[in-house]
């Protein structure tokens, strides 16, 4: 493991702890929704996205249609197209390898790997691997009956994710365009959340980045 990869793995540790506990609550929810033991674990390994998995399990628990569960999960994961665009220039090698490495991009590993407007591939892979292990381990514990921990909100763990994103955002606000993009993205998300299906506000907020289409003042001639 390279030094940068190890640094990514180390820096994501507190978030991995939160992912472990939330993974556990997904496992418990999935078990209650009648998903069995193996399917939720396979889902954590392949989908590897908390909000989408929670949404699918919730629809199943409520007895919703297959199409409703799939649509809810896919809407929530549409933001990964934008994250994929952001990650793409940093990945190397053949298509199969790029496809495999892109799977380790999560909100958290992608955010923690931001480095001067680019994604640091090794940091993202290190953080992503640790999160995958934590998330899947939590899911296994949850489906096998670990309900002793109770609700993650009791420990404030649900506040750790937005706190992480805020901390990483603060490090990104170096220039005026980044601040304008952040402000626009936040406003779009705030305005759309009450009126659009979950998942749509975040992907729509990507439009805030279009502010950067305009060349910087220094470069304008």
């Amino acid at each position: 493991m390279g030094r940068t990869m190890a640094a990514g793995a180390r820096d994501v540790a507190p978030i991995a702890f939160a992912a472990l506990v939330i993974g556990m609550s997904f496992g418990i929810l999935a078990r209650d929704a009648g998903m069995g033991v193996v399917a939720p674990i396979v889902m954590s390994l392949t989908t590897f996205a908390g909000s989408a998995q929670m949404a699918a399990a919730t629809v199943m628990q409520d007895g919703g249609a297959v199409a409703a569960a799939v649509a809810a999960a896919i809407l929530l994961n549409l933001r990964y197209v934008a994250i994929g665009v952001s990650v793409a220039p940093s990945l190397r090698g053949r298509r199969a390898r790029r496809l495999a490495e892109a799977q380790l991009a999560t909100d958290e590993s992608w955010a923690i790997a931001q480095d001067r407007g680019r994604v640091n591939r090794e940091r993202m892979l290190g953080a992503g691997l640790v999160l995958l292990v934590a998330w899947t381990t939590g899911t296994v514990a949850g489906v096998l009956g670990g309900s002793a921990l109770g609700d993650p909100a009791t420990y404030g763990l649900d506040a750790m994710f937005p706190a992480l994103f805020l901390a990483l955002l603060v490090g990104q606000l170096g220039d005026g365009r980044a601040r304008a993009a952040a402000l626009t993205g936040a406003l779009i998300a705030l305005l759309l959340t009450p009126v659009a299906p979950p998942g749509v506000p975040i992907i729509a907020a990507a439009a805030g980045a279009l502010i950067a289409l305009k060349p910087p003042k220094e470069a304008a001639s």
Partner: protein, 102 residues
């Protein structure tokens, strides 16, 4: 195939495809300058949206709950230039306390 497996496999394949779409199609090509600038601004735009949705979002509605106190504590810790671990511990601690009080 059971309903569960149909959902798990469909969502799994779709997510792999969504994540891999750009990395596979764009290859190692460097993006043209305007696109690269937009790309660089994606992080602040998406991170700000994630902060909003995960702090006050609750499905398709807005809500004020202990997470707001936790994120406010994180903001204070960031203003004091605390390290990331301290910021995260502050957010969880304050949110847990607010949760216990409500």
């Amino acid at each position: 195939m059971s309903t569960t497996w149909l959902i798990v496999l469909t969502v799994g394949v779709a997510t792999v495809a969504l994540k891999g779409l750009a990395p596979v199609l764009l290859g190692e090509r460097e993006l043209p300058a305007p696109v690269a600038r937009v790309n660089g601004a994606l992080a602040p735009a998406l991170l700000a949206a994630l902060v909003v949705v995960q702090t006050v979002g609750d499905g398709a509605s807005l809500t004020i709950d202990p997470r707001v106190a936790g994120v406010a504590a994180a903001a204070v810790a960031l203003l004091l230039r605390a390290p990331l671990l301290a910021v995260l511990v502050a957010s969880a601690g304050v949110a847990a306390a607010a949760n216990a009080l409500t």
